[in-house]
Symmetry: C2
Subunit: 243 residues, 2 copies
């Protein structure tokens, strides 16, 4: 996986804020959004498998064929917004100053991405609908499977990105993957906790992940630039005073 600037499955899925000039482009965008909203609304209301494509396209008043021209599959719609969020995070990580350590950079990327993530979502669907969508994914076996596979791909990309930052070889040095695994592991746990809980606000999710990341940071932070612990096939957390 390469994680270029456009990892999107779709071709020209525009990232919200851009206002397309022509009438044609605007119409297109409207159709895409309408399909997305209608799909997510029904998925979350009556269940993913209980919703047919025909149902969605009938409501939006387009043909079924048109749906598949915008989204490669039924699953694809379900993950459209999730993907936007992921891309925002990757972008935020990419612009982190090289001076920051790996864990520090990832942590800061998450923190700094929150605002723009919120706006990005809001520009396409109500944030609250995104929340429901996330929950639905986690509780629908077929989607959970896809989610896990996607996450694996994302982790691979992140590992590569971190390795590049530090001038390391992902396959030779285990630390990038370990760091990413630990990081995403925490994110995944917070996501699940938040999904199960009552408070479904974005703020809660943000606070939760920040709090958990605070626990993880001290255990894993270490200056990778020092010639370090190569070949150790095991995560080797190093405790150190917070700061």
């Amino acid at each position: 996986m390469t994680l270029g600037p456009d990892t999107a499955a779709g071709q020209d899925r525009m990232s919200a804020a851009e206002q397309p000039s022509g009438l044609r482009a605007r119409k297109k965008q409207r159709t895409r959004d309408a399909l997305l909203r209608e799909a997510l609304e029904r998925f979350t209301a009556q269940g993913y498998e209980q919703t047919t494509i025909d149902e969605i396209t009938d409501a939006v008043e387009v043909s079924q064929r048109t749906f598949f021209r915008y989204y490669a599959s039924k699953e694809d719609v379900a993950f459209a917004v999730v993907e936007m969020v992921e891309n925002k995070f990757i972008e935020a990580l990419r612009v982190r100053p090289a001076a920051e350590g790996p864990m520090e950079a990832m942590r800061n990327a998450v923190t700094s991405a929150w605002t723009s993530v919120g706006e990005t979502i809001q520009s396409v669907i109500p944030v609250e609908l995104y929340m429901r969508t996330y929950r639905m994914i986690e509780s629908t076996p077929a989607l959970l499977a896809v989610h896990l596979r996607r996450s694996a791909g994302l982790e691979e990309g992140l590992s590569q990105l971190l390795a590049d930052r530090e001038g390391l070889d992902v396959d030779a040095d285990p630390r990038p993957r370990v760091a990413v695994a630990a990081f995403t592991g925490v994110m995944r746990v917070t996501g699940q906790l938040w999904g199960k809980g009552q408070d479904t606000s974005l703020e809660t999710l943000r606070d939760l992940s920040e709090r958990y990341l605070d626990h993880l940071g001290p255990a894993l932070a270490e200056d990778w630039r020092s010639a370090g612990a190569r070949g150790a096939p095991t995560a080797r957390p190093v405790r150190r005073t917070r700061g």
Copy 2:
């Protein structure tokens, strides 16, 4: 997930060695095996998506409907043998003496399960076909997704099992899940390495996993019975002299 003695998706999928008495039962078993072999053979030879159910059922000379009476889905056949192996491992872990520590028990379960696993596979399909099947799963996106979800479920079950052994609450104490995550993480890595390599023998896989587990053990082993480190949301490996 509960992981009772019969986690199998199918209803009465018998674990090989048992010799059914009647002609009827024997025929049934033969059909099931024939479908399984034919499916895996074609999946591995020409690809999963490139193989249709009709193709399989035509070769075995049963109706398509019959296939779905034996296997719940196309995916189900692909994972049938994998599931047998997983169950063997769980069973092996379940009978480990309570005196053994968690990591010790899992390690020994794997080691002791190897023989019976080999026999179990052999009694249904050639071991070499199992190897190819595993590779195919890892390299087929749709199957990889399912595999990851299944693994997540398995891990949940293992965590519960370990927690029970140690008299802990899975949700209150993070150590069971952490230990399982680390353990299965290693197993997963070895599985991938082996899948990519040239040497496809069961022995190599066994040696590989033993070697990697040797690295992990010392880093995580700790007597859980001592009132320990509750509430630490992070893996807290404790180094100690091998023994």
